[in-house]
Each structure stands twice: as structure tokens, then as C-alpha cells.
Subunit: 269 residues, 3 copies
Amino acid sequence: MPLPPLGDYLETLRTVTPLVHCMTNYVAMNSTANVLLATGASPAMLHAPEEVAEFTAISAGLSINIGTISSHWADAMLTATATASQHAIPWVLDPVAVGATRYRQTLCAKLLAAQPSVIRGNASEILALKGLTSQGRGVDSTAATEQAEEAAVALAQQHGCIVAMTGKTDWVTDGTQHYRISGGHPLMPRVTTLGCGLSALVTAFVATHHETTLAATAAALGCFAIAGERAGNAAQGPGSFQVALLDALYQLTPNDLTTHTQWEAIHGA
Amino acid sequence: MPLPPLGDYLETLRTVTPLVHCMTNYVAMNSTANVLLATGASPAMLHAPEEVAEFTAISAGLSINIGTISSHWADAMLTATATASQHAIPWVLDPVAVGATRYRQTLCAKLLAAQPSVIRGNASEILALKGLTSQGRGVDSTAATEQAEEAAVALAQQHGCIVAMTGKTDWVTDGTQHYRISGGHPLMPRVTTLGCGLSALVTAFVATHHETTLAATAAALGCFAIAGERAGNAAQGPGSFQVALLDALYQLTPNDLTTHTQWEAIHGA
Amino acid sequence: MPLPPLGDYLETLRTVTPLVHCMTNYVAMNSTANVLLATGASPAMLHAPEEVAEFTAISAGLSINIGTISSHWADAMLTATATASQHAIPWVLDPVAVGATRYRQTLCAKLLAAQPSVIRGNASEILALKGLTSQGRGVDSTAATEQAEEAAVALAQQHGCIVAMTGKTDWVTDGTQHYRISGGHPLMPRVTTLGCGLSALVTAFVATHHETTLAATAAALGCFAIAGERAGNAAQGPGSFQVALLDALYQLTPNDLTTHTQWEAIHGA
């Protein structure tokens, strides 16, 4: 099934300017707020247990990122995700480095139980997340990419959510329909917290499009794919890339997004 | 009464390079430090209860911003503001999103009791802050801007401080004299933490000019109004705006500030 | 003794892309991650007591910076440095503002006991650190620079580590051999957290060169000296300097580093 015109999603986002409650890592806070503002959403960063439920309840979407997690933050995230579920507010999980420590694995298992609308991670993170709730098959003969795609589909089916697996090319699935999105630039892995910012942007898109979460997620990926490519072409290195990316997100038009996003539906995954 | 030549304030600031103790939010820390350094002040960010009083006491000014507040930070801020009062060190309150949650309202009531030298916020924040200590009138027929100006004047009178209310145009008052400052650029709301950085810059100016806090605050607003306008004219979007703003603050001369700040005294407010 | 070709160290770093566990201050997290990524290393920022030992053990190097320290972070840093020592993983201490408060002095005494591989600080910090473990001589007739150089050498001897004292020119010593490295640009002190980023870059270099820590540290200083000079020549102020520095670190070649680093061996210090 073809994706709907993705530019429509950007147009709505800019009209609505959704309030996105971000509970993200210290490294990513500034850059994430700027990604949201540049594209057209309204970020708010706060995490105190005394206020987190009250604030999530008035937000359009909630973005959870465990990059620099600690116990107080983890507790507040679980409060926020419970609030989001209760009020049918979409929320996005970015399981940063979930494979690296047992602490992250335990926390992500709890967050998955709170039913995210979307999971956004790289291939390693998606594989590690899948491993939390299934028998591992160990290393086998299937290629790493193929394995990760299978894991993404299985995760999406198991948790009834969208999975966006990003990297050199992106893959997004609701467990039944799958799309590949291409674009971006080789400089992107040389700049910190781009993935974190993308997760927050996914939140902004799904916050304004509850009924079409898969396409809304694809629209967010399309923004980064196109803006990333343009920024890379304008940049001399990772410093000027960052600057150019925010400019490109700001300059991106709905028509650009509809006509320039390189996507393809994947069959038989 | 006309404002004194604002460039004199910048000249003094650059000679003194005041040490500004910043207790600000995680999103704003880096950009705030860079705003202070670019303009000519010396930032220090620290918040541990074990050291906060010792450090405030050797600072020229204290900047308090509740953006990503939590209980340990709130306690340390109250210690720091008490120390500042005790040593007659000027301090500035930035009541980020005070209207959003009861937790912020309770904390800001305590901070107001510690007698800030200056309050710097947007119109919503000034209105919310005023509401903490007065009977609300509810929504009435006065225009929002007019209502916010009245709230700013009342807050200034009630707490014996300067109130700087910033937005498309800025308004600064000591409760008796009021000035409007114009400038800036439409890109400014598309970049995160500019207001936070401005609050810290107000701190740097008042830290070096205890006797003329109103004019010193106006000088800080003038810096952002002029540098913001120049940065906006040079920028292609919010990414390049941020870069250009720091460059413009660095390049701003005292003569620029005196001759290019667009201000007017407001009568009968 | 002449330094070996410094470009070899950069070449190895880029081949190995060492995983650097950073426990640094909130102000510096984003810029530090970007310095490491631009140069060719792989940063990870995390600090929870539940995972810190597990993660340090799989890292190539550990970077400790006390800029925005508080008690939970301090405890986690001591766990991490103990883990690093146990696994012979090199770690670098950046004693930010150690002279400013007793709290910092007490913490740094504990961190020194955990035996850093390298200490990277400015002259005031090196002097303050030296003062923790020796009888102070008070202010005397020796010049400040000379005094700081003596302190650097004494610290290196006392703790069996490298000391890198950076400023207008840099000085690096293992207690026996001393080198001065020149370069950089006057804009550098007008940008926040450059020293913090440099400490992390030192970590990345020593993480890949355990046997030649002195030369590896010099290579990191050389990167900043050259890239800083190039960035300064391209910049209009501190905003564009930051951008240009990341680009310059990215563009720096091993051959550049070998042929353009301005260093001299110091005799009789």
C-alpha cells in the first residue's frame, strides 16, 4: 500500500505546533529542542516527579529516551508513560544502548509494558529490545540486517506498535506493512544525538496524527532523510552539518516532503 | 526619564568580566555559558548543596532558572538565593513555565520571597507569577498585552524589583518607570533557550551595576535586540541564527549599544 | 627526547574508534560528544550507579570531569575509576574549578587516590590540585607560570601520571620529560567547554596508546592546537568558531598533525 502524501503531515504539524513533553538525555536536550522548534513543534523538557504526570496530561505527545538514565528519571518516566496511556496520548520510546547493560534491559522491559506508540532505535537496539522478550537464537547465518528487520517486525507485532529502525537506510513497520526510507548523509553518524532528535520529531508527528501512526512516523523519517541529505551537501564537516540540518528542517516545505522522500513498500518481509 | 547611554554598561561589563553563578536548566546550560562568554562575562554552572553557598558568596551575580527543576535543585536554589541576599549579591529569577504546574507555582512563591533583583520572563510567565500573590481577575475585556504590562508593574512594585517581560517587543519596569525596547527577529522563538541566556546576561549586567539595575537590565535587553536583529539578517534558519547570535554579541560595541538600541519611555502605564 | 610522529596516533585512533566512557558536566556533554565523534572516537555518556561499573569495564577509556558535580555523580565516578584501575583501563581527570570550593578539593583528593593516567587542567587548577597534597608555599616571588610548571611536574611525579596543563600555550609532562605545545587562537577562551572536550579527546588518545601515554596526550593537544588555529582563522566570533572547530577536527589528517604541531622539548624544568 502506498504511503499517503507525507507533506500533509508536515503541514498539519506546523498548524497544530504540538506540545511535546520530552524526557530525554542530558546530551540531547538542547539539540532535540532545536530540532522540534526548527521543524515546527513546541518542546518542553521536564522530569520532576512532583509535576510530571500533570504536565504529560496536557501534552500532545511524550518522548522517552533513556540515554543518561538514572533511578529518579526512570521512576518519573514510568509515571509519565502511565499517564500518557491513561489519556491516550501517544508516546515514543528511544531505547538508547539498551544492549549495553542489564540496568537498561530491565528498564526497557518495564517501558515496553507501558505500551509505546512507536519505538525508534538503531539495528543493535532493536535486536537487543527484541531479545528481552523472546528466546534468543544466538548468532546464526542470516545477515545482520535481515535479522534486525525480522526483529523489528516481531517487536511491532508483539507490542502493537510502530517500529522505526534507522541507520544508513531506515525501515518502518507496524508489523504488517513495512517501508524502507532512504536519504541522509554519511556525516550523520559523526554528529551526536541526531537519533534522539529524530525520536522526538517522530513524537511530534504522531502526536498530531493518532489515526495514521505508521505514515506519520514515515513523515518524520522523511524530514530527516531529506534535510540530512541537503545539510550534508552544504557542510564541510560535522560542525557545519548540525547548523545546516536545523536550517534545512526549517526550510523544508510540505511539497518537498511529499515529492522528495525516497520510500518503497517492502513485500514479504 | 531617558535611559543613560547603554554602551557604558557594556563597557564596564567587559572590563569587570563578572563571575555569574548560573543555576539553570539542562537544556540551556551550554548556550547560556556561551552567551555570557561571547558578550564578555564569566559563567560558572554548579549546584551541589555542599558547595553552592560557598560559591554564590564569591560570585558577582546569581542567575536562577527553573526550567528542568527537581527537588534537590530547588533546595540548592533556595540556599543560593538566601546567600545572595545575605551578601547583597544581585540575583535574577527566570520563572520558566511557572503557569504550567502547581509545583512550579509553589517553588516560585518561595523564590519570590527571597527577593530577586530582577524577574525576566515572557508575558504568560509574568501573568502567572502575578497570579501567585494576588486575587486573579479572571479573563476580562482588557487585551492580553495590556494585562501583562499591568502585571509586570504590579509585580515590580510588590517585590521591589525590576521586571523584564520579553517577547516580540520587550517591556522593563521598576514599578514606577517603564521602558519598551524593540528589535530582535522572528527567528528568535524558533531557537531554544534564548530567553534563558538573556536572563543570565541580565544577571551579568546587574552584577556590575548595583545602583542602576533598571538601566543595566535595559542594556542586556538592548544587546539581545540588536544582536538578534543582526543575526536574523545573516541567518538562513534557526541553525545559522544561533551561530550568528553569538558572533553578533561578541562583535557588539558599546557605541552600537548606545546608538542602536530602540527604546522608548512609557508614560501612564 | 623528540616526540614520535603524532599523526600515527591519530591514524590509530581513527582505525580503533575507541569507546570513551564520559562522566562529564552537563554544560559539556553535547560539545564533548561532538569533539570525540568529529575526531574519530566513539563517546558514551552515562552515570547511573546501577550500570556504571559494568559499562566502564567494556570501555577503552574513562573521562572524568567534575564541572557540575553532585554527590550521586561523585559516588558513581569513584566506582567508575575503581573499575578502570582494576581493568587497567586508562582514565583522565579534569578537575574543573578545584580551587573554588572545599567540596571540590575533597573530591579531587579521592579521585587522585584512584590514580588517573592523565590530569588535564588549566594553570589554576593544576596549582590547586598540587596544593591538596603538599605544603603550600603561599604567594612568592616566582612567576605564576613557573610556579604552575613546577606544580605540574611535582603532581606528575607524585601520582605517576601525565599532567597536561593547557592555556595560551600548553605544557605536558610525565614528571621527567616535558614538552610545550603552541597554537590555538584567542577566541578559544570565549567558547565554553573546550577544555572539557580536550580532556575527553586526551582520553580517546591514551585509550588507544597505553604504552606511550605522554606522546598520546601530546597528540590530543596537537589536534586542538592546530584545529583551534584553523577554526579561529575562519571564524567571525565564538559562534562560528565552535562550528569551525568541529569541522577542522574532522578534516585534520595524520600528516597535518605530524608536520604542523608546534612542540618543543623543555630542558631543566
